[in-house]
Amino acid sequence: MTPARLGAAATAILVALLLQATLVAPAMLSAQLSLPAVLVAAVALELGPGAGMSLGFATGLVADLGSAHAAGLLALCWLGLGIGCGLLAEPHRHAAAQALLAAVAATVAGALATLGLTVVDEPGGTALGAVQSLLPSLAGNLVIAALVVPLTRRLLRADVLRGSGDG
């Protein structure tokens, strides 16, 4: 990974977590929207599973440590999100299809994380809540993905960040 990409990834993680906590989550508490998850999916869909898993794990771990629940849960879920979306990477796919995929994947990862909270008996999630919030979460994540995916594609295809993908 080039220094430019490393810096960009660190900045992206920080900005995504800050915006999630101060803007996205307070704006719609009744759904499970996650800007960081959509970002992980968008990067993985563009760069493949290697970049997806690295970004997913790092973002999830920072989010875990900054939250009240047990560390490792989001790291695990977003690691899977990065790998799953990375395996679906397709350079010639239309941005709208990529946004749809990112939103669906982020919603599924969010539901799995909520189920994970119930499995480890942590506060914050119930199985019923995970199921009930699926549709509103998908709608919200679609809005986020419509903004994040084109921006991510443009940034990752910029000359300064363009480097080796992971094959």
């Binding site: 920080l14 977590l17 800050l18 999630q20 906590a21 101060t22 803007l23 989550a25 307070p26 704006a27 719609m28 508490l29 009744s30 759904a31 499970q32 996650s34 960081p36 493949g48 599973p49 290697g50 794990f57 999830g60 771990l61 920072v62 989010a63 875990d64 440590l65 900054g66 939250s67 009240a68 629940h69 047990a70 560390a71 490792g72 790291a75 695990l76 690691l79 790998i83 990375g86 395996l87 990477a89 397709e90 350079p91 969010g110 994380a113 909520t114 480890v120 506060p123 914050g124 119930t126 809540g129 919030s133 979460s137 919200g140 363009r162 480097g163 080796s164 993908g165 992971d166 094959g167």
Partner: protein, 278 residues
């Protein structure tokens, strides 16, 4: 535009990627095990929360006008009706307050309530998911805030302080699914356990199965000295009551303090009723 070194299709993980994925899964499971079974990661949690808390404080100044606008969008057009309804409710509540003032037992209970609180503003929610039922406030140990202290929005119960840093603190909302609050029905004096249901409010089960809960009953936190929370704070209003086949009464309660519209709150300055779990 071409991307020569990017894979046309990446359908399978390479051997190196499989190894990396396995290692990362093992590390995540290790973190999970350590954190669930003990407090080995308390320092790491505190460090990251402190760093994020400082960043929230900086970001909040820029973001809060946008956030308030976005939060107000669903209520656009309904504010006039809300103000009228609140004025009407306010008049009713003033009348009810006058009645309560004459009640000696209520007066005694109210006198036990602490009167000092530190005003605070909600800066952020949990950084991971929308269902992280914690908020970060812009006050911390420098302001006298301690773990376990009760937080109110001036109307009802918001939650309790879970972690404190120098300049910020994390509050676990009472609405957190799975969290329990000791409650008292102001009409009958019966004790009950209220369980958080997220945005749906609370689910309440009276300790005495024969207790009578009715729609419209007001619940407050309590009893004093035995609850995690300061006693006497409004918890909510019973909106429906169901009795199961085995005779158990369960009520749904609309919260007095809505978790979705939190902004200005107060941390009540008492000795904490209980230590935070993590």
């Amino acid at each position: 535009m071409t991307f020569p070194r990017r894979p046309e299709r990446a359908r399978r993980l390479t051997r190196r990627q499989r190894l990396a994925a396995t290692a990362l899964v093992a590390v995540a499971l290790l973190f999970l095990t350590i954190d669930v079974t003990g407090s080995g990661l308390r320092g790491a949690h505190g460090g990251v929360r402190g760093a994020l808390g400082a960043l929230y404080r900086g970001t909040d100044g820029l973001i809060s006008p946008v956030r308030r606008f976005v939060q107000g969008v669903p209520d656009a057009g309904a504010n006039r009706d809300t103000i009228d309804r609140l004025r009407s409710e306010n008049a009713q509540l003033r009348a009810r307050l006058a009645q309560y003032a004459a009640d000696a037992s209520a007066s005694e209970a109210l006198s036990r309530l602490p009167t000092t609180s530190v005003p605070a503003r909600v800066m952020a929610l949990g950084p991971g998911l929308g269902f992280d039922w914690t908020v970060t406030l812009d006050v911390g140990s420098h302001n006298g805030v301690q773990n376990g202290q009760t937080v109110t929005d001036g109307v009802g119960l918001v939650g309790r302080v879970l972690h404190t840093n120098a300049i910020s603190c994390t509050v676990l909302l009472a609405a957190d699914p799975g969290s329990g609050v000791g409650a008292r029905d102001t009409r009958t004096g019966e004790l009950a356990l209220a369980t958080g249901q997220g945005t749906s409010g609370f689910r309440v089960s009276p300790l005495d199965p024969a207790a009578q809960l009715s729609v419209g009953d007001q619940l407050v936190t309590g009893p004093a000295g035995e609850s995690t929370y300061v006693a006497g704070l409004a918890l909510g209003t019973v909106t429906s009551v169901h009795t199961s086949a085995d005779g158990m009464t369960v009520a749904q309660v609309r919260p007095a303090a809505s978790p979705t519209t939190l902004d200005l709150v107060g941390v009540i300055m008492t000795e904490p009723g209980a230590e935070a779990s993590r």
